[in-house]
């Protein structure tokens, strides 16, 4: 006999998108019942912190995305460790793995992405891991604690996940080789020159990088355990462990078999609504609006998940709101090097103009199309990059000051007066000055 519980809002997924939606719903609807279910047995934690966790395991409390009393304080029914197995859009129900059903009025799919794991010989051996969830970090931690010293690891994929797990493994003293299929590491989020700065930092930490190759199979010397990998050029690398970090794809399993439209991700409109009524999607599962590309596509990064979740939540609670859109955007700090990038990293055709400034390990590059920003990458000194990001997001024509964007002394004052004035707050007519009771002393240096 299965039970059915009722909720006004059901959120599947307890990470950035789900929390963003719950917070937004509570801004509008203080009482409607919110239920969050997640197949992970934890309160919402900061997923990007799993590499910090692997480098130095810490209690979960230090990884929480919100204060420990978040669910209680917001009147949210949280059911961690409960997996949704099927959606019935017509009946407005979700079937749970534990056997029961939840009946909802508004549903949010914040189910995230799932690691891409290629089919290859040896993929099921002990010592093969993915790196997307806290449990992955825990499994690697357990493995390393059991294992002998002088561990060698092969990381398949030199993207953000690959580099982040590499940093944690290096802190363990693991000898890491990254195998990247494309020409250079971090190729989806950086141009070749910025990526070369990160590659230098990796190599200084004694990380091996093999590009233009992939792993063809994983071999075993001791039965059932990883012993080496064979590359597609026939080379063999000794390995005690293999991390699959090829990438993440939107999770579509829950919508398979329904009439909810999918493409690469689940298709949503600008209100984050899916193609069937009362169902919303955000985060890595969705294919939401990208303001640089001017079209919908997956941009699986944490801030977009949260923002998209906020927009979804407001709409679910009845406040019609357009998602302003996100774009591919990343801030990296691996091996002591700060890099940020957003939008396009490489111009797709010659309709774009690129301006670069490089010296002393700092790198600034902007990509323009018809006078507007379409992408940028800063390395070494990333402060003030937010000014560039917002000029891009606001669609400001930067043609008259484009050279300034990459200048060492770039700042707010580099913008035309109208642009910087619009960014600085002005006191309203009713604002009251706050002064000290005592007369102001003359400022003297060396006081």
């Amino acid at each position: 006999m299965s039970t059915t519980t009722n909720t006004k809002y059901l959120i599947i997924g307890n990470s950035a998108g789900g929390i963003g939606a719950a917070e937004a719903i509570r801004e509008v609807d203080g009482v409607g019942k919110i239920t969050i279910i997640s197949d992970e047995p934890y309160p919402a934690y900061s997923r990007p912190l799993i590499s910090e966790y692997l480098a130095q395991p810490c209690p979960l409390e230090k990884m929480l995305y919100r204060k420990p009393d978040f669910y209680k304080a917001n009147g949210i029914q949280s059911v961690p460790g409960e997996k949704a197995v099927a959606i019935n859009p017509a009946e407005h129900t979700v079937k749970l793995e534990s056997g029961g059903f939840i009946k909802w009025r508004k549903l949010l799919l914040a189910t995230g992405g799932t690691p891409i794991v290629p089919t290859m010989e040896g993929i099921d051996l002990k010592g093969v891991f993915t790196f997307n969830r806290l449990d992955d970090a825990k499994a690697i931690d357990t493995f390393l604690n059991e294992y002998r010293s002088n561990v060698k690891a092969v990381v398949i994929g030199g993207g953000l996940i690959g580099v982040s797990v590499t940093e944690a493994l290096v802190k363990w003293g693991v000898e890491v080789t990254i195998v990247e299929m494309k020409d250079y590491v971090l190729n989806t989020i950086l141009d070749e020159e910025a990526a070369a700065l990160e590659a230098d930092a990796l190599e200084q930490a004694s990380v091996g990088i093999i590009t233009g190759r992939t792993v063809a199979k994983i071999n075993s010397q001791t039965a059932g355990e990883v012993g080496s990998v064979t590359l597609d050029d026939g080379r063999t690398l000794p390995a005690d462990m293999v991390i699959i970090a090829i990438g993440v794809k939107p999770r579509l399993d829950l919508v398979a078999g329904t009439k909810i439209k999918t493409n690469r991700g689940i298709v949503v409109d600008r209100t984050m609504a899916a193609s069937l009524p009362d169902i919303y999607v955000c985060g890595d599962a969705a294919e939401a609006y990208d303001f640089v590309m001017g079209e919908n596509r997956p941009t699986p990064v944490w801030p977009n998940a949260y923002e998209g979740g906020c927009a979804a939540g407001l709409n679910m609670a009845g406040k019609k709101t357009e998602y302003t859109g996100g774009t591919s955007m990343n801030a990296l700090k691996y091996f002591g090097l700060n890099i940020v990038s957003a939008g396009l990293v490489n111009p797709p055709d010659d309709g774009y103009k690129t301006i670069v400034n490089r010296h002393n390990g700092t790198y600034r590059k902007v990509i323009l199309k018809k006078g507007k920003l379409a992408g940028f990458a800063f390395a070494g000194d990333i402060e003030k990059s937010g000014i560039i990001y917002n000029l891009m997001k606001d669609g400001v024509n930067v043609d008259s000051f484009k050279q300034q964007l990459v200048a060492d002394d770039f700042g707010l004052a580099s913008l035309p007066e109208s642009a910087w004035r619009s960014k600085l707050a002005k006191p309203s007519a009713s604002a009251v000055p706050i002064t000290t009771a005592e007369p102001k002393e003359e400022a003297v240096i060396g006081d």
């Binding site: 900061s46 230090k62 004052a413 707050a425 006191p427 009251v432 000055p433 706050i434 000290t436």
Partner: protein, 159 residues
């Protein structure tokens, strides 16, 4: 909420706001020691941007709809619903720089030694922030706006 406003017409870019902010956040309260002895040197939370005759003293404006809070990967940044102050919990900050990437004023600073971001806290233990108190030209003014209107309304209007 209380805020620092810039009257750029009388800011001549002397950078005393930066100097006093650095001193405020240094271990020592001695200017010379703060600059000459402390290593690494404390970071000012305010910055003067200059171009030609324009100089602007820029710091966190504690936005109502703060992009840094929304983008923060760890939840270290939050906005106090009562005071309106945007603060960083240094325990939870990992210095990733995502806040710097989304801030319209580009004000988050990265403390590379501590691997944390630092930002303006409006000098909570002072009557008025030291940048304002020590501005020789009164180019910086500290003012109190009427309590924020309902953040829900602001959020919706801004989106």
């Amino acid at each position: 909420m209380k805020k620092v406003y810039v009257n750029e017409n009388v800011c001549m870019g002397c950078r005393l706001c930066e100097v006093y902010c650095l001193l405020k956040h240094a271990h020592t309260k001695d200017l010379i020691k703060a600059y000459k002895k402390e290593s690494p040197r404390a970071l000012p939370r305010v910055r003067v941007d200059e171009s030609g005759i324009v100089s602007l003293s820029v710091r966190c404006e504690h936005c109502v709809d703060a992009p840094c809070v929304k983008a923060c990967l760890t939840g270290a940044l939050s906005r106090d619903p009562v005071t309106g102050l945007v603060t960083v919990d240094e325990e939870r900050c990992i210095g990733c720089g995502t806040c710097a990437l989304v801030c319209p004023l580009g004000v988050p600073k990265l403390d590379k030694a501590q691997k944390k971001m630092v930002k303006c806290d409006l000098c909570q233990d002072e009557e008025i922030p030291v940048c304002v108190a020590n501005c020789p030209n009164e180019a910086l003014v500290y003012m109190e706006e009427k309590p924020d209107t309902n953040p829900v309304v602001n959020y919706v209007n801004n989106n």
